[in-house]
Amino acid sequence: MPDRFTSRWDTLAFVGCLLVSMIARVTPEPIQTRVASAVRGSLLAPLLAVQRQAELFKTSRARSAALVTQRDDAARSALDIESVREENLRLRRLLGLHERLSVPHVSAEVLHQSSPVDGLTLLLAAGSDAGVRPMSPILTPDGLLGVVRSVDRDHAVAVIWPHPDFRAGAMTEDGEAFGIVAPSNAGGRGRLLLELHGVPYLKVLQPGTRLYTAGFGEVYPRGIPIGRVLAIADETVGLARSYLVEPAAHPASVAHVIILLRPRGDLADAFVEPGS
Protein backbone atom coordinates (compact mmCIF):
# COMPACT_ATOMS: atom_id res chain seq x y z
CA MET A 1 0.00 0.00 0.00
CA PRO A 2 2.67 2.61 0.83
CA ASP A 3 3.94 2.59 -2.79
CA ARG A 4 0.50 3.80 -3.93
CA PHE A 5 0.75 7.05 -1.97
CA THR A 6 1.98 10.12 -3.79
CA SER A 7 5.70 10.46 -4.33
CA ARG A 8 7.50 13.65 -5.25
CA TRP A 9 7.29 12.62 -8.92
CA ASP A 10 3.50 12.27 -8.65
CA THR A 11 3.15 15.72 -7.14
CA LEU A 12 5.43 17.26 -9.77
CA ALA A 13 3.46 15.64 -12.60
CA PHE A 14 0.17 16.85 -11.11
CA VAL A 15 1.37 20.43 -10.54
CA GLY A 16 2.98 20.53 -13.99
CA CYS A 17 -0.27 19.45 -15.70
CA LEU A 18 -2.25 22.01 -13.66
CA LEU A 19 0.15 24.79 -14.65
CA VAL A 20 -0.08 23.92 -18.35
CA SER A 21 -3.90 23.81 -18.06
CA MET A 22 -3.95 27.28 -16.53
CA ILE A 23 -1.61 28.63 -19.19
CA ALA A 24 -3.84 27.05 -21.88
CA ARG A 25 -6.88 28.79 -20.36
CA VAL A 26 -5.33 32.27 -20.71
CA THR A 27 -3.61 31.66 -24.05
CA PRO A 28 -4.93 33.93 -26.86
CA GLU A 29 -7.89 32.44 -28.73
CA PRO A 30 -6.15 32.05 -32.13
CA ILE A 31 -3.54 29.79 -30.50
CA GLN A 32 -6.24 27.80 -28.67
CA THR A 33 -8.10 27.35 -31.95
CA ARG A 34 -4.93 26.18 -33.72
CA VAL A 35 -4.12 23.64 -31.00
CA ALA A 36 -7.71 22.32 -30.89
CA SER A 37 -7.75 22.05 -34.68
CA ALA A 38 -4.42 20.16 -34.69
CA VAL A 39 -5.72 17.67 -32.07
CA ARG A 40 -8.94 17.12 -34.04
CA GLY A 41 -6.97 16.63 -37.24
CA SER A 42 -4.54 14.09 -35.73
CA LEU A 43 -5.32 12.17 -32.51
CA LEU A 44 -9.08 12.55 -32.81
CA ALA A 45 -9.45 12.18 -36.59
CA PRO A 46 -10.06 8.37 -36.62
CA LEU A 47 -12.36 8.56 -33.59
CA LEU A 48 -14.42 11.39 -35.07
CA ALA A 49 -14.68 9.37 -38.29
CA VAL A 50 -16.11 6.52 -36.20
CA GLN A 51 -18.59 8.90 -34.54
CA ARG A 52 -19.66 10.29 -37.89
CA GLN A 53 -20.25 6.78 -39.21
CA ALA A 54 -22.33 6.02 -36.10
CA GLU A 55 -24.43 9.15 -36.75
CA LEU A 56 -24.84 8.25 -40.43
CA PHE A 57 -25.82 4.68 -39.53
CA LYS A 58 -28.39 6.01 -37.05
CA THR A 59 -29.82 8.24 -39.79
CA SER A 60 -29.92 5.33 -42.25
CA ARG A 61 -31.79 3.28 -39.68
CA ALA A 62 -34.44 5.99 -39.31
CA ARG A 63 -34.83 6.22 -43.09
CA SER A 64 -34.99 2.45 -43.45
CA ALA A 65 -37.61 2.20 -40.70
CA ALA A 66 -39.74 4.78 -42.49
CA LEU A 67 -39.50 2.90 -45.78
CA VAL A 68 -40.40 -0.44 -44.21
CA THR A 69 -43.30 1.14 -42.36
CA GLN A 70 -44.64 2.57 -45.61
CA ARG A 71 -44.26 -0.79 -47.37
CA ASP A 72 -45.63 -3.07 -44.74
CA ASP A 73 -48.38 -2.12 -42.31
CA ALA A 74 -47.74 -5.27 -40.28
CA ALA A 75 -44.30 -4.00 -39.46
CA ARG A 76 -45.64 -0.65 -38.35
CA SER A 77 -46.08 -1.50 -34.71
CA ALA A 78 -42.68 -3.16 -34.48
CA LEU A 79 -40.89 -0.22 -36.05
CA ASP A 80 -42.94 2.57 -34.55
CA ILE A 81 -40.24 3.32 -32.02
CA GLU A 82 -40.54 6.84 -30.68
CA SER A 83 -36.89 7.80 -31.17
CA VAL A 84 -36.80 6.48 -34.74
CA ARG A 85 -40.04 8.29 -35.55
CA GLU A 86 -38.72 11.57 -34.13
CA GLU A 87 -35.44 11.21 -35.98
CA ASN A 88 -37.31 10.52 -39.20
CA LEU A 89 -39.54 13.57 -38.69
CA ARG A 90 -36.50 15.77 -38.07
CA LEU A 91 -34.86 14.45 -41.24
CA ARG A 92 -37.98 15.10 -43.30
CA ARG A 93 -38.18 18.69 -42.03
CA LEU A 94 -34.47 19.23 -42.72
CA LEU A 95 -34.93 17.86 -46.23
CA GLY A 96 -37.86 20.22 -46.74
CA LEU A 97 -35.78 23.23 -45.69
CA HIS A 98 -32.90 21.97 -47.85
CA GLU A 99 -35.19 22.02 -50.92
CA ARG A 100 -36.70 25.42 -50.18
CA LEU A 101 -33.43 27.28 -49.51
CA SER A 102 -32.37 29.36 -52.49
CA VAL A 103 -28.81 30.07 -51.35
CA PRO A 104 -25.82 27.66 -51.49
CA HIS A 105 -25.63 25.45 -48.40
CA VAL A 106 -24.50 22.07 -47.07
CA SER A 107 -25.98 19.79 -44.43
CA ALA A 108 -23.89 18.35 -41.60
CA GLU A 109 -24.23 15.86 -38.76
CA VAL A 110 -23.85 17.26 -35.25
CA LEU A 111 -21.21 15.32 -33.30
CA HIS A 112 -22.44 15.82 -29.72
CA GLN A 113 -19.85 15.44 -26.96
CA SER A 114 -20.01 14.52 -23.29
CA SER A 115 -18.69 17.78 -21.87
CA PRO A 116 -21.19 19.72 -19.74
CA VAL A 117 -20.62 22.72 -22.01
CA ASP A 118 -21.62 20.84 -25.18
CA GLY A 119 -24.44 22.96 -26.58
CA LEU A 120 -22.56 26.24 -26.18
CA THR A 121 -20.45 25.09 -29.10
CA LEU A 122 -21.17 22.16 -31.42
CA LEU A 123 -18.79 20.10 -33.52
CA LEU A 124 -20.13 19.68 -37.06
CA ALA A 125 -19.09 17.00 -39.54
CA ALA A 126 -18.43 19.36 -42.45
CA GLY A 127 -15.40 21.55 -42.96
CA SER A 128 -13.44 23.57 -45.47
CA ASP A 129 -13.53 20.67 -47.97
CA ALA A 130 -17.31 21.18 -48.13
CA GLY A 131 -16.92 24.95 -48.57
CA VAL A 132 -17.65 25.92 -44.96
CA ARG A 133 -15.99 29.11 -43.76
CA PRO A 134 -15.85 30.94 -40.44
CA MET A 135 -18.97 33.10 -39.84
CA SER A 136 -21.23 30.81 -41.88
CA PRO A 137 -24.74 30.75 -40.29
CA ILE A 138 -26.07 27.44 -38.88
CA LEU A 139 -29.77 26.67 -39.35
CA THR A 140 -32.29 24.04 -38.36
CA PRO A 141 -35.81 23.73 -39.79
CA ASP A 142 -36.98 25.68 -36.71
CA GLY A 143 -34.64 28.62 -37.21
CA LEU A 144 -31.25 30.08 -36.35
CA LEU A 145 -28.94 27.93 -34.23
CA GLY A 146 -25.59 29.74 -34.39
CA VAL A 147 -22.57 30.59 -36.49
CA VAL A 148 -19.35 28.81 -37.46
CA ARG A 149 -16.36 29.96 -35.42
CA SER A 150 -13.49 27.83 -36.75
CA VAL A 151 -13.08 25.35 -39.58
CA ASP A 152 -10.84 22.31 -40.15
CA ARG A 153 -10.71 20.24 -43.32
CA ASP A 154 -13.49 17.87 -42.21
CA HIS A 155 -15.05 19.60 -39.22
CA ALA A 156 -16.31 22.95 -38.07
CA VAL A 157 -16.89 24.35 -34.60
CA ALA A 158 -20.05 26.43 -34.28
CA VAL A 159 -20.93 28.94 -31.56
CA ILE A 160 -24.53 28.25 -30.59
CA TRP A 161 -27.00 30.86 -29.31
CA PRO A 162 -26.64 30.00 -25.55
CA HIS A 163 -22.91 30.89 -25.81
CA PRO A 164 -22.13 34.20 -24.04
CA ASP A 165 -20.46 35.56 -27.22
CA PHE A 166 -23.51 35.00 -29.45
CA ARG A 167 -25.20 38.10 -30.91
CA ALA A 168 -27.57 38.60 -33.86
CA GLY A 169 -29.48 41.55 -35.26
CA ALA A 170 -33.24 40.90 -34.96
CA MET A 171 -36.46 42.41 -36.23
CA THR A 172 -40.16 41.76 -35.85
CA GLU A 173 -42.16 40.09 -38.63
CA ASP A 174 -43.58 43.46 -39.75
CA GLY A 175 -40.08 44.96 -39.80
CA GLU A 176 -41.06 47.85 -37.50
CA ALA A 177 -38.92 47.05 -34.46
CA PHE A 178 -35.25 46.13 -34.38
CA GLY A 179 -32.80 45.07 -31.70
CA ILE A 180 -29.93 42.75 -30.85
CA VAL A 181 -30.51 39.28 -29.41
CA ALA A 182 -28.10 37.74 -26.91
CA PRO A 183 -28.34 34.81 -24.49
CA SER A 184 -30.24 35.52 -21.28
CA ASN A 185 -29.61 34.36 -17.72
CA ALA A 186 -33.28 34.72 -16.87
CA GLY A 187 -34.26 31.17 -17.79
CA GLY A 188 -34.64 28.57 -15.11
CA ARG A 189 -35.30 24.85 -14.80
CA GLY A 190 -33.11 24.20 -17.79
CA ARG A 191 -35.05 26.62 -19.98
CA LEU A 192 -32.49 28.60 -21.93
CA LEU A 193 -33.74 31.92 -23.29
CA LEU A 194 -32.57 34.79 -25.44
CA GLU A 195 -32.96 38.47 -24.71
CA LEU A 196 -33.78 41.14 -27.29
CA HIS A 197 -32.02 44.40 -26.38
CA GLY A 198 -32.42 47.96 -27.55
CA VAL A 199 -36.05 48.04 -28.69
CA PRO A 200 -37.31 51.67 -28.73
CA TYR A 201 -39.46 52.39 -25.68
CA LEU A 202 -42.48 53.48 -27.68
CA LYS A 203 -42.51 50.27 -29.72
CA VAL A 204 -44.21 47.73 -27.45
CA LEU A 205 -43.90 44.07 -28.49
CA GLN A 206 -46.70 41.71 -27.52
CA PRO A 207 -45.97 38.20 -26.18
CA GLY A 208 -45.88 35.77 -29.10
CA THR A 209 -44.42 38.29 -31.56
CA ARG A 210 -42.11 36.43 -33.92
CA LEU A 211 -38.53 37.62 -34.36
CA TYR A 212 -36.35 37.11 -37.43
CA THR A 213 -32.78 37.97 -38.34
CA ALA A 214 -32.66 41.55 -39.57
CA GLY A 215 -29.94 41.05 -42.18
CA PHE A 216 -27.62 43.68 -40.72
CA GLY A 217 -23.98 43.17 -41.65
CA GLU A 218 -22.50 40.28 -43.56
CA VAL A 219 -23.17 37.30 -41.28
CA TYR A 220 -26.90 36.46 -41.12
CA PRO A 221 -29.22 36.95 -44.09
CA ARG A 222 -32.61 38.46 -43.41
CA GLY A 223 -35.64 36.39 -42.46
CA ILE A 224 -34.29 33.45 -40.41
CA PRO A 225 -36.61 32.73 -37.44
CA ILE A 226 -34.97 33.48 -34.09
CA GLY A 227 -37.85 32.96 -31.67
CA ARG A 228 -40.94 34.46 -30.05
CA VAL A 229 -41.25 37.27 -27.51
CA LEU A 230 -42.23 36.01 -24.05
CA ALA A 231 -42.27 39.09 -21.81
CA ILE A 232 -40.52 42.34 -20.96
CA ALA A 233 -37.16 41.63 -19.33
CA ASP A 234 -36.01 45.13 -18.46
CA GLU A 235 -36.65 48.75 -19.36
CA THR A 236 -34.91 52.07 -19.26
CA VAL A 237 -37.89 54.37 -18.83
CA GLY A 238 -38.38 56.59 -21.84
CA LEU A 239 -35.49 55.09 -23.79
CA ALA A 240 -35.59 51.37 -24.52
CA ARG A 241 -36.92 47.99 -23.44
CA SER A 242 -35.48 44.51 -23.57
CA TYR A 243 -37.60 41.39 -24.00
CA LEU A 244 -37.21 37.73 -23.09
CA VAL A 245 -37.37 35.55 -26.18
CA GLU A 246 -38.19 31.83 -26.49
CA PRO A 247 -35.64 30.58 -29.06
CA ALA A 248 -36.91 28.76 -32.14
CA ALA A 249 -34.13 26.15 -32.34
CA HIS A 250 -32.80 24.05 -29.47
CA PRO A 251 -29.22 22.76 -29.57
CA ALA A 252 -29.68 19.72 -27.29
CA SER A 253 -32.04 17.85 -29.60
CA VAL A 254 -30.49 18.71 -32.95
CA ALA A 255 -28.75 15.93 -34.88
CA HIS A 256 -28.39 17.54 -38.31
CA VAL A 257 -28.00 21.18 -39.37
CA ILE A 258 -27.72 23.25 -42.51
CA ILE A 259 -24.73 25.55 -42.99
CA LEU A 260 -25.21 28.51 -45.34
CA LEU A 261 -22.18 28.91 -47.59
CA ARG A 262 -23.00 32.30 -49.15
CA PRO A 263 -25.63 33.96 -46.96
CA ARG A 264 -27.62 36.62 -48.78
CA GLY A 265 -31.18 37.67 -49.60
CA ASP A 266 -34.34 37.13 -47.55
CA LEU A 267 -34.89 33.55 -46.40
CA ALA A 268 -38.24 33.96 -44.64
CA ASP A 269 -40.11 31.99 -47.33
CA ALA A 270 -37.82 28.97 -46.88
CA PHE A 271 -39.08 28.51 -43.32
CA VAL A 272 -42.75 28.40 -44.31
CA GLU A 273 -43.53 24.68 -44.41
CA PRO A 274 -46.11 23.58 -46.98
CA GLY A 275 -49.52 23.17 -45.38
CA SER A 276 -48.61 25.21 -42.30
Partner: protein
Protein backbone atom coordinates in the same frame (compact mmCIF):
# COMPACT_ATOMS: atom_id res chain seq x y z
CA UNK B 1 2.56 -11.36 -15.32
CA UNK B 2 2.89 -7.60 -15.07
CA UNK B 3 2.85 -7.22 -18.88
CA UNK B 4 -0.40 -9.19 -19.24
CA UNK B 5 -2.06 -6.92 -16.64
CA UNK B 6 -0.99 -3.88 -18.63
CA UNK B 7 -2.27 -5.30 -21.89
CA UNK B 8 -5.63 -6.11 -20.31
CA UNK B 9 -5.91 -2.60 -18.91
CA UNK B 10 -4.86 -1.02 -22.21
CA UNK B 11 -7.42 -3.11 -24.10
CA UNK B 12 -10.26 -2.09 -21.79
CA UNK B 13 -9.24 1.59 -21.92
CA UNK B 14 -9.00 1.47 -25.73
CA UNK B 15 -12.39 -0.25 -25.95
CA UNK B 16 -14.02 2.39 -23.75
CA UNK B 17 -12.52 5.18 -25.87
CA UNK B 18 -13.86 3.61 -29.08
CA UNK B 19 -17.28 3.04 -27.48
CA UNK B 20 -17.38 6.72 -26.54
CA UNK B 21 -17.48 7.61 -30.23
CA UNK B 22 -19.19 4.54 -31.72
CA UNK B 23 -21.87 3.68 -29.18
CA UNK B 24 -22.62 6.91 -27.30
CA UNK B 25 -24.54 8.54 -30.21
CA UNK B 26 -27.05 5.66 -29.87
CA UNK B 27 -27.67 6.12 -26.16
CA UNK B 28 -30.23 8.92 -26.20
CA UNK B 29 -29.70 12.48 -24.98
CA UNK B 30 -26.00 13.36 -25.12
CA UNK B 31 -26.46 15.29 -21.87
CA UNK B 32 -27.37 12.15 -19.89
CA UNK B 33 -25.59 9.39 -21.82
CA UNK B 34 -22.67 7.68 -20.03
CA UNK B 35 -19.26 9.26 -20.48
CA UNK B 36 -17.01 6.43 -21.69
CA UNK B 37 -13.99 8.74 -22.04
CA UNK B 38 -14.12 9.68 -18.37
CA UNK B 39 -14.72 6.04 -17.52
CA UNK B 40 -11.56 5.07 -19.44
CA UNK B 41 -9.61 7.57 -17.33
CA UNK B 42 -11.12 6.32 -14.05
CA UNK B 43 -10.50 2.67 -14.93
CA UNK B 44 -6.89 3.55 -15.72
CA UNK B 45 -6.59 5.57 -12.49
CA UNK B 46 -7.64 2.55 -10.42
CA UNK B 47 -4.43 0.81 -11.50
CA UNK B 48 -2.08 3.78 -11.90
CA UNK B 49 0.04 5.96 -9.67
CA UNK B 50 -1.41 9.46 -9.09
CA UNK B 51 1.23 11.16 -11.26
CA UNK B 52 0.58 8.88 -14.22
CA UNK B 53 -3.18 9.26 -13.75
CA UNK B 54 -2.80 13.06 -13.68
CA UNK B 55 -0.90 12.97 -16.99
CA UNK B 56 -3.52 10.61 -18.49
CA UNK B 57 -6.21 13.02 -17.27
CA UNK B 58 -4.38 15.92 -18.88
CA UNK B 59 -4.30 14.09 -22.23
CA UNK B 60 -8.02 13.24 -21.99
CA UNK B 61 -8.61 16.92 -21.11
CA UNK B 62 -6.84 18.07 -24.28
CA UNK B 63 -9.09 15.76 -26.32
CA UNK B 64 -12.17 17.07 -24.52
CA UNK B 65 -11.17 20.71 -25.03
CA UNK B 66 -10.52 20.06 -28.72
CA UNK B 67 -14.00 18.53 -29.08
CA UNK B 68 -15.81 21.26 -27.13
CA UNK B 69 -13.62 24.36 -27.27
CA UNK B 70 -15.85 26.57 -25.13
CA UNK B 71 -13.29 27.40 -22.44
CA UNK B 72 -10.02 25.91 -23.63
CA UNK B 73 -7.96 24.60 -20.69
CA UNK B 74 -10.91 23.94 -18.37
CA UNK B 75 -11.18 20.33 -19.56
CA UNK B 76 -7.43 19.80 -19.09
CA UNK B 77 -7.59 21.09 -15.54
CA UNK B 78 -10.74 19.15 -14.65
CA UNK B 79 -9.55 15.80 -16.02
CA UNK B 80 -6.08 16.26 -14.47
CA UNK B 81 -7.62 16.81 -11.03
CA UNK B 82 -10.07 13.91 -11.47
CA UNK B 83 -7.30 11.55 -12.63
CA UNK B 84 -4.98 12.50 -9.76
CA UNK B 85 -7.67 12.38 -7.07
CA UNK B 86 -9.06 9.09 -8.39
CA UNK B 87 -5.67 7.34 -8.24
CA UNK B 88 -4.78 8.90 -4.89
CA UNK B 89 -8.17 8.24 -3.33
CA UNK B 90 -8.34 4.70 -4.68
CA UNK B 91 -5.01 3.91 -3.06
CA UNK B 92 -6.02 5.27 0.32
CA UNK B 93 -9.75 4.91 0.81
CA UNK B 94 -11.62 2.64 -1.49
CA UNK B 95 -12.53 -0.96 -0.94
CA UNK B 96 -13.13 -3.05 -4.06
CA UNK B 97 -16.86 -3.16 -3.56
CA UNK B 98 -19.48 -2.72 -6.28
CA UNK B 99 -21.40 0.05 -4.52
CA UNK B 100 -18.22 1.91 -3.63
CA UNK B 101 -16.99 1.60 -7.21
CA UNK B 102 -20.33 2.93 -8.51
CA UNK B 103 -19.95 5.90 -6.13
CA UNK B 104 -16.37 6.34 -7.37
CA UNK B 105 -17.53 6.64 -11.02
CA UNK B 106 -20.45 8.87 -10.04
CA UNK B 107 -18.22 11.19 -7.98
CA UNK B 108 -15.65 11.37 -10.79
CA UNK B 109 -18.34 12.54 -13.23
CA UNK B 110 -19.70 15.14 -10.81
CA UNK B 111 -16.25 16.54 -9.92
CA UNK B 112 -15.32 16.75 -13.62
CA UNK B 113 -18.51 18.64 -14.49
CA UNK B 114 -18.23 21.02 -11.51
CA UNK B 115 -14.62 21.89 -12.41
CA UNK B 116 -15.33 22.32 -16.15
CA UNK B 117 -18.30 24.56 -15.46
CA UNK B 118 -16.76 26.66 -12.69
CA UNK B 119 -13.29 27.00 -14.21
CA UNK B 120 -14.78 27.70 -17.64
CA UNK B 121 -17.19 30.31 -16.26
CA UNK B 122 -19.38 30.28 -19.38
CA UNK B 123 -22.49 28.83 -17.74
CA UNK B 124 -23.95 30.82 -14.85
CA UNK B 125 -27.12 31.34 -12.82
CA UNK B 126 -30.10 29.04 -13.29
CA UNK B 127 -28.53 27.25 -16.24
CA UNK B 128 -25.53 26.26 -14.09
CA UNK B 129 -27.73 24.98 -11.27
CA UNK B 130 -29.90 23.05 -13.71
CA UNK B 131 -26.87 21.51 -15.40
CA UNK B 132 -25.31 20.44 -12.10
CA UNK B 133 -28.56 19.47 -10.39
CA UNK B 134 -30.10 17.47 -13.23
CA UNK B 135 -27.90 16.60 -16.20
CA UNK B 136 -24.67 16.05 -14.26
CA UNK B 137 -26.43 13.76 -11.79
CA UNK B 138 -28.12 11.80 -14.60
CA UNK B 139 -24.83 11.47 -16.47
CA UNK B 140 -23.13 10.43 -13.23
CA UNK B 141 -25.72 7.69 -12.71
CA UNK B 142 -25.49 6.31 -16.24
CA UNK B 143 -21.67 6.46 -16.11
CA UNK B 144 -21.68 4.63 -12.77
CA UNK B 145 -23.94 1.88 -14.12
CA UNK B 146 -21.79 1.37 -17.22
CA UNK B 147 -18.61 1.55 -15.12
CA UNK B 148 -19.77 -1.19 -12.76
CA UNK B 149 -20.82 -3.27 -15.77
CA UNK B 150 -17.38 -2.82 -17.33
CA UNK B 151 -15.68 -3.85 -14.06
CA UNK B 152 -17.85 -6.96 -13.83
CA UNK B 153 -17.25 -7.96 -17.43
CA UNK B 154 -13.51 -7.22 -17.45
CA UNK B 155 -12.63 -7.93 -13.81
CA UNK B 156 -10.10 -10.59 -14.76
CA UNK B 157 -8.33 -8.34 -17.23
CA UNK B 158 -8.34 -5.45 -14.77
CA UNK B 159 -7.38 -7.68 -11.82
CA UNK B 160 -10.15 -6.22 -9.71
CA UNK B 161 -11.42 -8.42 -6.87
CA UNK B 162 -14.94 -7.17 -6.33
CA UNK B 163 -16.79 -7.94 -3.10
CA UNK B 164 -20.56 -7.52 -3.50
Amino acid sequence: MRRSIDYGLLTVVALLIVLHFALRPWLGSPRAAPDFLLLALLVYAIQARPGAAAIAGFVVGILSDALTPVAFGSGMLAYTVVGYLAAWGKAIFFAENLVVMAGFFFAGTVVRDVLVLLWGGQVTGGALLWQLGVWTLLKGLTTAVVGVGALLVFRNWLHVRLRE
